[in-house]
């Protein structure tokens, strides 16, 4: 593996329940880079993230930099409203202190910490829960953060805040980010690389080169304007 790479993927194949989900996928990611993964529903984007995390078996090669600390924001995360688990306790699963919790909550635009931390996790709105989950991923300063559709349920204003703070956080903390998203506009402008996927690699490169109306039509199967 080259020195400045944090992740190298070669000829990755994933099969789930006898069905090929990912075929012959190769890409790599440098330190501090942002990679956005695009693709239609069922393209295997979430499976790719989970495979990178070691949650699915695969053939081929996935090589992370040694001792890399990875955080994950899953696509779905449901908490029963009846579960008496406070936001603070949820963060304490990671053995972290209040200062760090407050800092990471600021990153995702949550104010009024003391009240927020006492709330039950299950009673948060879906947008608040997403934010809390992103903050939870950030709190112990991972080297890489993998986010699967992190903005589901968050309003447009909120998305901007979160993306802005994520980018700032990334610049300050030298974080590498892998992001699965349906949104083409705001997100991709901030990315270093875009990987368009539909079981196989469709396009891979700089956002300016990839995000063209013609390519998007190929990715999503119809005309989409940015």
């Amino acid at each position: 593996m080259k020195n400045n790479l944090i992740l190298e993927v070669r000829n990755l194949n994933v099969e789930l329940g006898g069905e090929k989900i990912l075929e012959d996928l190769s890409f790599d990611l440098g330190n501090k880079e942002i990679l956005v993964i695009l693709g239609p529903n069922g393209a295997g984007k979430s499976v790719l993230l989970r495979t990178l995390l070691g949650l699915h078996s695969f053939t081929g090669q996935i090589q992370w930099q040694e001792n890399v600390h990875i955080a994950y924001v899953p696509e779905s995360f449901d908490v029963s409203p009846g579960l008496p688990l406070s936001v603070k306790e949820f963060f304490q699963f990671k053995k972290t202190d209040s200062q760090k919790i407050i800092k990471s909550l600021q990153c995702v635009g949550i104010m009024g910490f003391s009240k927020f931390l006492e709330k039950r996790l299950g009673t948060l709105s879906s947008g608040q829960l997403r934010r809390a989950l992103i903050a939870w991923a950030l709190v112990d300063k991972p080297d890489v953060i993998l986010l699967d559709e992190p903005m589901v349920g968050i309003d447009i204003h909120g998305r901007e805040t979160i993306y802005d703070s994520l980018v700032k956080f990334w610049q300050k903390k030298n974080q590498t980010i892998i992001l699965v998203s349906h949104e083409i506009g705001e997100v991709c402008k901030k990315a270093n690389k875009v990987l368009a996927l539909n079981k196989r690699k469709l396009f891979y490169g700089k956002p300016k080169e990839i995000i063209t109306p013609q390519n998007l039509a190929k990715i999503y199967g119809s005309t989409i304007s940015v």
């Binding site: 989970r50 995390l53 949650l55 990875i70 008496p84 406070s86 306790e89 990671k94 006492e118």
Partner: protein
């Protein structure tokens, strides 16, 4: 105060506490009735212990482990739902136990008898309760996180299978201990009722788990005191105290 009564009180107090604490995890994992079913699975071991005059918990524990392994093997082999297989194993256990049990011992097996515990039995129970509680305390947050999202837990390097195994072993130990206090038939309530009561007023996880622990201990202590005063059997009294505390907790439900 008689020494014998003190032994009963101490044994009940500790077992009730750890059973309540464990119950808070079991309700969260939707395994509340598992304690009840395992209480029945243990019956053949309880029967042998009563016939040959050794500790009921000692008889129950190996049978519980055997029962859990059987259910697990059947599940691997058949892919039938776990609850159906548990049903088969626990009714078969009850059937075997009733062929073995002398009639005079039936009520002890079913509703327990804490009035005759000796010093050694008390000491061993207390030590086991403390150790099991410490283990549960250690794995508590990991089990809760794995229950929220197994993927998230695995990314945090939590070995989910390992912790589930430890958790199941703790259940077997607590059920074996609890059978001594309230018997096979009522054991389930020792894990369900205190935790359900605590959930009604708890605002967070520590209020929930420690609330369940306190209510479990309190139910046993008050139940055993009531037994001393009334000469009615202790097992049912303990469960009724716990049920009463559950009813009281309903008052708080609206406020939170």
């Amino acid at each position: 105060m008689e020494v014998q009564f003190l032994y009963s009180l101490i044994t009940g107090f500790f077992i009730g506490g750890v059973a309540g604490y464990l119950g808070s995890l079991m309700i969260t994992k939707r395994m509340a009735l598992v304690g009840d079913a395992l209480g029945h699975v243990a019956l053949p071991g309880v029967a042998l212990a009563l016939i040959y005059g050794f500790s009921v918990s000692l008889g129950a524990f190996p049978v519980l482990i055997l029962g859990i392994i059987l259910i697990w093997l059947f599940e691997m082999r058949t892919k039938l739902p776990m609850e159906a297989l548990t049903g088969i194993v626990f009714t078969a256990s009850v059937a075997i136990a009733f062929l073995l049990l002398p009639e005079s011992q039936v009520s002890i097996a079913l509703i327990g008898d804490i009035s005759q515990v000796g010093f050694l039995d008390t000491l061993v129970s207390v030590i086991l309760c403390i150790v099991t509680w410490l283990v549960l305390k250690k794995i508590f947050s990991k089990i809760i996180l794995a229950n929220l999202s197994e993927n998230l837990a695995k990314v945090e390097h939590i070995k989910v299978e390992k912790y589930n195994f430890i958790y199941l072993t703790c259940i077997a130990i607590v059920v074996a201990l609890g059978i001594k206090v309230t018997g096979s038939l009522l054991m389930g309530a020792m894990v369900i009722t205190p935790a359900a009561a605590a959930r009604n007023f708890a605002r967070n996880l520590s209020q929930y788990s420690y609330g369940a622990l306190v209510i479990g201990s309190l139910s046993c202590a008050l139940g055993i005191l009531a037994f001393k005063l009334s000469a009615l059997p202790a097992g049912p009294l303990i469960i009724l105290v716990a049920t009463f505390l559950f009813l009281v907790s309903l008052i708080f439900k609206k406020l939170t």
